[in-house]
């Protein structure tokens, strides 16, 4: 209410004073965890926006990803956060909206350029309010070293059996670590392994929604099977993978010492810069030939408006611009692997990014299974998934036990899953 009033007053003053008073530039600060994108914003996106909108200056102010949530929360509570807030998907931002830190954006025309699925990650459960403008989704799959495949004489696998066969051949041949993945950081095992291949088994959205509805359990075969599959990867990981951090996995692969990298599409730009061999990509292998294909196509990042921003009008101008084809193209092509969520037809220059996005034609998309609703209680399902997936790959917990642990955690607080 107060902010609405302040916004109205601001608008009134801006309208009233068309003279030299408006010459004063408005500076908008964007809070973000994407340190990685600093130069892209500074060199490409911000100049493009400022050229179109003189009078509005943008500052992209990222912090290290591990500190983002804590720092942002403190700044929002203290009233010192920037005007625009980069939104994590689903419950991470829903929480901010519920606390009144993010403004409702339903009246923003730009949102029309996004499908309902795209908006779902930043919309309340009842669909009544949308609070962030979607930016990009990321797709899981496998990136591989084409030279290594040619050298060892293996073909891109399409089924789980073929996949294991390729791993075995790579291991026998011995010049490459078959797969670059570690469990030290834990999230690799949950994200790059379990959520990467899992949708094939729990049938994407169908399985995810059944879990939310309480008609399926984590201990059902379709949820345990993918854990068994990733447990089978253990012999093909690098020596001492238990102490291998995510950055180690990346380096292992880009230095040409590993053949396959279980990936998210976000790796594309970094890998292209660092690897001096040819890169290819293939979707998660089908459980059996002829099965229907499902991929994890996860809404990942969006930008919302700080409800307390004194520059709400200028910020809305920017959010409006985020819905244009111009922004979608600039963003997707500067950051191959982050696929714009807008409905505009976009041409991607990068062949590897095109490979990833082409899977959308033959496969059904789904989001990460623990992202929506299921991670709202204690214990947190997504955090639990990190731990148990790592344990399963390490071989210190059986897939059945891991599934039982997650189910018990869910049953402890989530009504539809109780007994």
């Amino acid at each position: 209410m107060k902010t609405a009033l302040r916004g109205a007053l601001l608008a009134a003053t801006v309208l009233a004073a068309c003279g030299p008073a408006v010459a004063e530039d408005v500076t908008l600060t964007i809070e973000s965890w994407r340190n990685d994108d600093l130069s892209i914003w500074q060199e490409t996106i911000i100049p493009a926006f400022e050229a179109k909108h003189p009078g509005i200056k943008l500052v992209f102010a990222p912090v290290a990803p591990t500190q983002y949530n804590a720092a942002l929360n403190a700044k929002l509570e203290g009233g010192t956060a920037g005007d625009l807030i980069t939104c994590r998907p689903f419950d991470g931002s829903l929480d901010l909206y519920a606390k009144g830190y993010l403004a409702k954006l339903n009246d923003l025309p730009a949102l029309e350029n996004f499908s309902e699925v795209a908006r779902s990650a930043w919309t309340t459960d009842d669909g009544s309010a949308t609070f962030c403008v979607p930016m990009a989704a990321v797709i899981h799959g496998f990136i591989y070293n084409k030279d290594a495949f040619a050298e060892v004489g293996v073909e891109v696998p399409t089924t789980q059996a073929e996949f294991m066969d390729v791993l075995a051949k790579l291991k026998d041949e011995g010049s490459y670590v078959p797969m670059a993945m570690g469990t030290l950081d834990q999230w690799e095992a949950a994200t790059m392994a379990y959520q990467n291949i899992g949708p094939m088994y729990w049938k994407g959205e169908e399985g995810r929604k059944a879990l939310i509805a309480g008609t399926a359990k984590m201990t059902d075969p379709e949820w345990v099977k993918p854990l068994e599959v990733i447990a089978g990867w253990k012999p093909y990981l690098g020596d001492g993978f238990e102490a291998q951090a995510y950055a180690d996995s990346q380096n292992l692969f880009t230095l040409g010492r590993a053949a396959i990298f279980p990936a998210g599409s976000w790796e594309i730009s970094g890998f292209k810069r660092d690897a001096d061999f040819e890169l290819g990509a293939f979707p998660p292998p089908l459980p059996a030939a002829g099965d229907k294909c499902y991929i994890s196509d996860h809404n990942d990042i969006a930008i919302g408006l700080n409800a307390a921003s004194p520059n709400a009008d200028a910020a809305r101008t920017f959010l409006e611009w985020m819905g244009t084809k111009e922004f979608a193209e600039l963003y997707s092509n500067s950051l191959p692997g982050f696929f714009s969520l807008s409905s505009h037809e976009i041409t991607l220059d990068d062949p590897l990014a095109n490979e990833f996005v082409s899977w959308r034609k033959s496969c059904d998309s789904t989001i990460r299974s623990a992202a929506q609703i299921l991670s709202r209680g204690t214990p947190n399902l997504w955090s639990q998934m990190w731990g148990v997936a790592a344990n399963v790959v390490n071989g210190t917990q059986s897939p059945a036990d891991a599934a039982a642990e997650m189910q018990a955690g869910l049953a402890a607080w989530y009504e539809p899953q109780k007994n």
């Binding site: 340190n35 990685d36 403190a74 380096n251 230095l255």
Partner: protein
Amino acid sequence: MAFSRARRNLIAELGAHAILLTFTVIALFPVLLVLINSLKTKKAIFRAPLAPPDAETFDLIGYATVLAQGNFPLYFWNSLFVTLGSLFLVLLLGAMAAFALSEYRFPFNRFVALYMALGIMVPIRLGTVGILNLMVATGLVNTHWALILVYTAQGLPLSIFILSEFMAVVSKDLKAAGRIDGLSEYAIFFRLVLPLVRPAMATVAVFTMIPIWNDLWFPLILAPAEETKTLTLGAQVFVGQFVSNWNAILAAMALAIVPVLILYLIFSRQLIRGITAGAVK
């Protein structure tokens, strides 16, 4: 007899050198690894982390990135100003309070001492939101003073705790003599006691300085603006979500060791000199 004693001393000395050298190598090797790798290409860091840079792998890209991105000389100055400012306040105010607590008997003395010690037991970070509200209310956000105040509050409990221990052993006769000479309590503190506890002050300085210099959290929350950014916060820009720029991080960190090492050398000299001077007296 004399000969065997000299020989025993020699053996003891060699043994001491051997042990100290071992610990020195253990302490320095990882630090050296940071320095070596800050001078190499990213690939060379991971291909052969142990190898010193050679013609092929030598690369100043890390340092170049650090100097090109952001305003590192300014960040350096900010870190130094904040660290020294906090240090000054922690030492002065801490010594004053410690003196009052260890010198005078007054009601609630023990209570105040305990109250001041509470701060050692809870990490101040938990009060972040309250602190931020305070700084917003006083308009100190994005100023050096916000940081200096927080670090002073954070450093005081330990400083008072350690300094009271040392002040308790300052000779009573000396102070009594001063009082007989008609010195005021302030003069006794500043002219007689402070010089004597110089070694303890140097110790506290070292303790206080390190966490302040390396702190990431409060600069991030209280003073993230470009003009007040500290070095540690500035270097964070190279820590990415998926890809970190290790060349730049290592270069920034290698540079960040220098000022704090110089400060340490100054304080440790104070420490040793203060003690030896005290012993000679």
